[in-house]
Symmetry: C2
Subunit: 456 residues, 2 copies
């Protein structure tokens, strides 16, 4: 075998009398995930030993030493300062589970990489903001920076994008990346409840934070999407370039209309190759009921990858939770312990293209448009006319009477009524122009609701 410049692993790992890889872990951050990682490494000791890996947690760091985490930390070195842990001679690999794009999390990761130590992290915010710079740093030192746990929890989507599809050109990646939003939309759909009611329940169950903005307005999904985009398309992580719209404006009526029309509404993150670059968008989305992703209910996550050779690949699994996230962290640890080093985002940082943002106005796709119109003659015709002027073709148009309302001899109640349009492929710009014109015509009693349709 000819090789240039890189050594090869040889030998039978783990069998009797043969060498075992010894790997000392420093865990920075002992929250739910950190504690689960410590327990998992201990619980799976025999299995790792059989596989030729001697993994041990030798150091931990957290803010509060006195807190009872139900962990036996005997024999494990405690660091008040996580950066000191990263630099410690008793740590081969630093596992960053502090969280946050700046501050101690960033300091720990940088200190570890600078010390030539591989890093495993679950920190989506850090990767979304500083991914390209950290990848360069890791590659300069020739060490791994692994982050399976940063996106879609226990689903091995990073591994799949980075290692599973090198023969493919990827055209689109989309997914349900936030369990809180999917839980809320699932309940709204099943029980006909409002967003506000379901959010309250999600908060009571611990699925949503006291301040839910980051989740429900789509920013968490955008962070995760930006990481997937980089892996799928070889572009520098660009979370700022994601067009973001959350689920707080979705109404029970939209979910009912979606059901009637053969769709479900999911908050999707979508990264898609377009002529001008890579579209990155997060928004409530109509997906066909028969699609794999439409079946995903509750806090579960799912990612679909469209690639030229495999066609469509869908991965479904838990997106959060201490154990599921720890599972992804521990998988990264095992890879790193085996000496597996790959470019952080699949290709060397220097080879990554800058992100080419595509304005949302240029997005082309099907649209669900729910108008609330004054109930008088010619409204539907007026709406259709404005659509036609922008060459927007309508797949269907549904007008609903309000049940129980008193009507005149023409069946009109005099009250505003919903008028729902499904369009064939049209550009966002044309849709917005048409809606502005319809508004200027005085046909609307309320601002329009616009939900994009994602086809399989």
């Amino acid at each position: 075998m000819r090789r240039i410049g890189r050594p090869v692993h040889h030998g039978r790992p783990g069998t009797e009398g043969v060498m075992t890889v010894s790997f000392r872990l420093g865990i920075a951050g002992l929250g739910t995930v950190g504690a689960a990682v410590v327990r998992m490494v201990e619980r799976r000791r025999a299995a790792f030993t059989a596989a030729g890996l001697d993994l041990r947690v030798t150091a931990v760091s957290s803010r509060d030493r006195t807190r009872d985490r139900g962990l036996d930390l005997a024999g494990i070195e405690w660091f008040d300062d996580p950066v000191a842990l990263a630099r410690s001679g008793s740590v081969d690999c630093v596992v960053e589970l502090i969280g946050g794009a700046e501050g101690p999390a960033k300091a720990v990761v940088e200190a570890a990489l600078d010390a030539g130590k591989p890093v495993v992290t679950a920190n989506k915010a850090l990767l979304a903001r500083h991914g390209a710079a950290l990848a360069t740093r890791a590659e300069d030192k020739g060490v791994a920076l692994a982050f399976e746990a940063a996106v879609a929890g226990g689903i091995p989507v990073i591994k799949t994008l980075r290692e599973g599809l090198p023969g493919n050109t990827i055209s689109r990646v989309y997914g349900i990346l936030n369990g809180t939003c999917n839980y809320i939309l699932s309940r709204m759909e099943r029980e006909g409840l409002t967003f506000e009611a379901c959010l309250k329940d999600a908060q009571a169950l611990g699925y949503a934070e006291a301040d839910p903005t980051f989740d429900v307005e789509g920013f968490d999904t955008a962070h995760k999407l930006a990481i997937l985009t980089s892996l799928a398309f070889g572009t520098a992580v660009d979370a700022e370039g994601v067009s973001v719209e959350g689920i707080s404006r979705v109404q029970p009526l939209d979910l009912r209309m979606a059901d009637e029309l053969g769709y479900r509404i999911k908050l999707l993150g979508v990264a898609q190759a377009a002529e001008a670059g890579i579209e990155q968008r997060v928004h409530p989305t109509m997906v066909p009921k028969s699609s794999a992703i439409a079946q995903v209910m509750g806090v579960t996550n799912a990612v679909t990858i469209d690639a030229d050779a495999v066609g469509e690949l869908t991965l479904i699994g838990p997106g959060a939770g201490g154990e599921a996230t720890a599972s992804a962290v521990v998988a990264d640890i095992a890879d790193v312990a085996r000496g597996v080093i790959r470019p952080t985002f699949g290709i060397p940082a220097a080879a990554m293209r800058p992100s080419e943002r595509v304005e949302m106005q240029r997005h082309e796709g099907g649209y669900y448009i729910r108008l609330t119109v004054h109930d008088r003659p010619g409204v539907a015709a007026g709406v259709a006319q404005r659509m036609a002027e922008r060459e927007i073709s309508l797949e269907s148009i549904l007008q609903r009477r309000i049940e129980g309302a008193e009507t005149d001899p023409h069946g009109r109640s005099g009250r505003p009524v919903p008028l729902v349009l499904i369009t064939y492929a049209a550009t966002e710009g044309n849709i917005r122009d048409a809606l502005d014109a319809i508004g200027a015509d005085g046909l609307l009693a309320e601002p329009p609701q616009v939900i994009r349709i994602e086809r399989e």
Copy 2:
């Protein structure tokens, strides 16, 4: 970082002035998949170069040199003898795409491993029959034996089981592993057609062989399942230990009843940890309509993994086809080129436990039982009595009149009628005993239909 006995990769691959891995591929077998691999390696050259890999096909071998495959083989060495290709000094990695458990495929793989060369193969039959021995051979030489393409085509399920879940104890793996069977069952369900009619169409479309036995009687699924079992449970591959039942006895009536009861029928391969060992079974299976796997229609494959930390993980994608299979082969090639060597089935061959077969009689689960009974008083009571004697609890019991049949004043037609039972968890042994007793009672006009239920 302390390491014992294993070198570490260092350096930034692929960026300017930095080293690139050069890797010369010998492709043995130029059928649909082989030709697709040659084309894919060429098509993706720039992407591989950017990622630090210089992959080139330098040698090919096939039976018929004169056949036009639409490939440009200029500059590629031709071998009539694939074993000579495996030993050639111009090949770093051997890609075996000949197929078959014995003969040239086995000879090529063994020759390559003996020469200390890594092997990538799509050969499920070879792995199913000789997996443990080949794994030992590969590990003795310290080279990789990779086989992502052998199971579920383009779905990265081997990678997921081998690398994605080391922190987990797996309790069950099940999946739709044969596209032909899923295509036939999907059409039977959607169009109410017979097995025979759908098989003919599948043959006309090229989804089924002229002799379809291997696919429709479940043997192909059994081969693939045996490989998944080994990876999931750390046991030696034991295809002989799989209990196999195909789809040829499934009737349109069963699909209609399944639909009414909230199920779909899929041919599943299931490997499940039980008290006495690992159950391995292939059979038509009722799966809840709401499950992810129930949505999988047509030739698509899917695998669900139940693991303690991640819970449930489902992967859905193409199970066959030249491009999808080549995608898996090329992913393996890229891994091997990066010097990634792992124990073939996740743990060293020497550490793998022998398979502990569990007799099908001891399987415990829910059952769908469709009896064809004589239409006379007391039959349902007699059936229920025999079930109760074996402590089999019934979740539901459905008796159907035959539409349009003339009946007596009691509503009886005098003709045999279907009687469908759904049981709570019961053992296969008790079910079979009860059915024998019901048969001995003279209640049955036809042999019973038994389909196992797999719960989420």
